[in-house]
Symmetry: C2
Subunit: 581 residues, 2 copies
């Protein structure tokens, strides 16, 4: 009984073995993550087009709910860059930034996303995330990183700019370039440069100074906090906000409020597809992080339960003033590296953020938006990695094509078009490849029982027996291909008396392919040619027995290709010309 319940409530599993030592490890990790999350949460709210407090609210209840329902011990849930950008793209067409309608749309988007994830989890549809191929995800993340960085340039320059595609963004930026606020630009550039230096240069410095590698790593994550501290102080001290530097301003001092998403059918209709895309992208990103971290400690992630955990987290965000959330890479890695052992670390982080929401928000009043933009830019540029283009080009042109198209379409038409096109292209290219399967004519390797491609090996063949090894499952997409291929091959070659289909690589024969086989059998029968099968797999044979095909077959089914060869070759096999030395 408890076994079953703990499958759906993993908290019951790790909760009972919770020791004082685990507690102290979890608390230390939570303190480190909290410090890192304060500026990050504000920044991602800005990226999503929401007031800064929304970022903190989105990190409190969602973390607790994930801790209860999720299966990863180290995943940290909250706003992340790509999902925040997708949120901005989804709502930007519906409402004006800063309005009540915009905030409600964000809640509704989180609600829909949570509902979709929960439904997928309950129906165990986690496999749907597999329809996104790795290269398409890599391309999408890279392109999103560029789009996000470009979208933040306006805060660095202190100007207004809009657009969901890279082109629109850049045009808008250039046309407003004259409005640049030079003080903002100085702050933004300085913060960006400082944060880049923290990433690249600080760690070696700290290591030289004698810090351990883990501590040095964690210290560099505090870079954004330092940048926030210094620029806030400078803005306050020099009164820079009076000179046009945009600041965060008033942030309410309160715990997350109770909020209600909208149930307006029109709004739900407009947000459903974006919510679906956000759910899938969020799930894929989260599960990759969770699996990477779990593998390091030989722990297991249950993808379907993860859907439930993330679904609960998003519903939590929807009812407490947040926006769509997922498991984030950088925050989870920090949590893991800082020594978090159980999801309770997440609960302590939530506590820390709740304290910050109540007590610390006045401190960010003078925080320049340019600083937040700098933290985003530095964070997302680490996502940009074009090496996937080189790797896929070397390995497979189809994969290269899918990733290149995903990058170009994401940059050119925004995140929703990009990711949809990536999925459709991946599936389309796969179907196209299987629609023209590799079919090898095979012959006997002399002195063995093995059969190999006549084009690649020196093998024996027989004029009256045509043996084709079909290197693909037979299903509706390629059913007609085999029909045409055999018809053409037999039409050219008169002495053929037997066609053997070697089925060692045929993993399925669907109903369309069965009908094609029946038609091949009928046509060959009319020409007096036998159709035989060899090396048919167990599950495929089980299914063929349910049809009339085997009764109508003008030929036999052989256990092995060698059996077929010995039974059908009446004439003395002649060696292939290639084999004649």
């Amino acid at each position: 009984m408890n076994m079953r319940l703990s499958k759906y409530l993993p908290v019951l599993d790790w909760g009972r073995s919770y020791t004082r030592e685990t507690l102290s490890n979890d608390v230390i990790a939570a303190v480190i993550v909290t410090i890192m999350l304060i500026p990050q949460s504000l920044a991602y709210a800005l990226l999503a087009g929401l007031p800064p407090e929304a970022g903190i609210y989105a990190s409190i209840l969602p973390i607790i709910l994930y801790a209860i329902f999720g299966t990863s011990r180290a995943l940290a849930v909250g706003p992340v860059a790509v999902v925040s950008l997708m949120t901005a793209a989804a709502i930007g067409n519906i409402a004006e930034t800063g309005t009540m309608g915009y905030a409600i749309a964000a809640l509704t988007l989180a609600f829909l996303s949570g509902a979709i994830l929960l439904v997928m989890g309950v129906f165990r549809l986690g496999f749907l995330a597999n329809f996104l191929s790795h290269p398409v995800i890599a391309g999408f993340i890279t392109a999103s990183g560029i789009l996000i960085a470009a979208s933040q340039l306006k805060h660095i320059l202190g100007i207004r700019a809009e657009g969901h595609s890279l082109f629109d963004l850049l045009v808008s930026l250039v046309s407003h370039l004259g409005d640049t606020n030079w003080i903002t630009l100085v702050i933004g550039v300085a913060a960006t440069a400082f944060l880049f230096w923290v990433r690249k240069g600080l760690k070696p410095l700290l290591r030289k100074a004698g810090l351990g590698p883990k501590l040095a790593d964690v210290a560099t994550k505090a870079g954004p906090v330092a940048a926030v501290f210094v620029t806030t102080l400078a803005t306050w001290g020099l009164g820079l906000n009076g000179q046009g530097v945009a600041i965060v301003g008033d942030v309410p001092q309160s715990l997350p409020p109770l909020t209600m998403p909208s149930l307006d059918p029109t709004l739900i209709g407009q947000l459903f597809i974006p919510a679906l895309l956000i759910s899938i992208i969020g799930f894929v990103e989260s599960i990759s992080v969770a699996q990477t971290l779990a593998a390091k400690r030989r722990q297991r992630i249950d993808p379907d339960q993860e859907l439930i955990g993330l679904g609960a987290a998003n519903l939590g965000a929807a009812f407490t003033g947040g926006f769509p959330v997922t498991g984030g890479f950088s925050r989870s890695v920090v949590n893991f590296d800082a020594g978090a052992e159980t999801p309770a670390a997440g609960a302590y982080t939530a506590l820390g953020l709740a304290l910050a929401a109540v007590a610390l928000t006045p401190l960010v009043y003078f925080l320049p938006k340019a600083t937040l933009a700098a933290t985003i830019i530095v964070a997302v540029l680490s996502l940009v990695d074009f090496s996937i283009l080189r790797k896929t080009w070397a390995y497979s042109r189809a994969d290269f094509f899918a990733v290149a198209a995903t990058i170009l379409l994401t940059l050119g038409f925004g995140v929703e078009t990009g990711v949809s096109a990536g999925v459709i292209l991946s599936i389309g290219l796969h179907l196209y490849k299987t629609s023209r399967p590799h079919v090898a004519e095979v012959g006997l390797v002399p002195g063995t029982h093995h059969f190999r491609n006549v084009m690649r090996h020196k093998v024996q063949t027989d004029d009256s027996v045509l043996t084709l090894r079909v290197d693909e499952s037979l299903y509706f997409v390629n059913a007609r291909f085999l029909e045409d291929l055999i018809q053409n091959r037999v039409a050219q070659d008169c002495p053929i008396k037997h066609v053997v289909l070697m089925c060692s690589a045929v993993n399925e024969i669907d109903f369309s392919a069965l009908e094609s086989l029946e038609s091949i059998n009928r046509r060959l029968g009319e020409l007096g040619i036998g159709l035989h099968l060899s090396e048919v797999k167990g599950p495929v044979m089980d299914r063929l027995r349910k049809s009339h095909f085997l009764d109508e077959l003008h030929g036999q089914v052989f256990q092995s290709q060698y059996d077929a060869w010995t039974a059908l070759t009446t004439t003395r096999p002649r060696p292939m010309p290639a084999a004649a030395e």
Copy 2:
């Protein structure tokens, strides 16, 4: 040079060997087909919601253009039932039947359909038609037949009724049932009963009377002409049109007019998806007929050239007052059975229909619409065949599910929803199946070099060697599945020192799967377990060599599974319990 040109203009091929005998065979076939086509063309125009002459116009220039560009020697192109219904469904939402806008939308639909087919032909995209599985097509045709028959009941009853789904149609029929015109009903029922009798009872009678089987067959096809003749005469003689019997009325006496499709972007936007669906359904239907007939005479059909032929035919229909056309089953079979040898038979049919359009249209003034509806009902009910449900149920539940859903969705939501859902379901179910591939643990069949599933056969295994035969190509949809499977399997079983993936059925490893293999290799390596591959296919190995995977592999690649077995089994193999007698 001529070889290449004749590929695109098949007329050059058969035209040069045209003899007097071919001419006489073609002319005889053309006369028979013309007689059959006159009522059929009028009826399908009625079904499409267009004036009767549109059906004749749609059969003249399109036939000639197909004769020039098409590759089938017997295919007869013109309006067909399913495409006419799809035309009515596509335009019904945009314009009112009988208006100028409706006729122009029909021309535009034919134009778009022609353009889509031509583009697909030029880019050799004929394989796209394969994305419709056989059972989905069968289900769609069956459901369409029912919808068409239901849509014609209003003409039999002499009432008005509207609706694209079966439910809407029936509700509309019932609510207008009070308006039934009893004379119309008598004509309609009598004509329907007569035509059913002609189909079922006349042929045996004619055979008994001494007619040859072919002649008897052709004579039964003239049944509709007899029904038209008798009911027209009765309506004229008894003045039934004065008593509320709807008649065809004035049909202009003229050759096909020169017409222009609309280039209005809004209209094109509305009609594009319907045109795409009509093109694909029309192409699939046409090519099935063409291939069936070609196989009987050992002729070849080039699917991509067929696209061009059908595209030209539809463009012809768009500019001469027609509507979307394709190769029809019944007319092509009659053409073939009547002895047509070349596409010239089609040209003579076109000539016959042109004569009819100029000279015979006044004769159909008194033709009751109920008679035309009866010819449609009898023709389409022969398309209805639910046996596909039984056959797929027995063979494959996935195929059954796809066909049942296609039938229900077509009946419930109309042709466009039905066929779109069928395509998406077929592809989705295939991907779902391949996302959870069959992976068999295999062992050595004692005394042989063969390896078989340990669950099905008595085989030898070794505690330290786990051999998995993966019965599916490895690609993004199932990449993670294998990762999880191996991780679970290895976690349970401590003595394992080597994992061998037997790849005889792995026809492709895409980039996502390569990354999964790399991750499997890394994780197994951390556990001190070797990863080996055996029986990797040539094309797959070629590709793996382009990556770093083979360099990083903690193990070897073996030519055959037996090589792997002899190299890796250090301990004396123990027999499986099942094999211990």
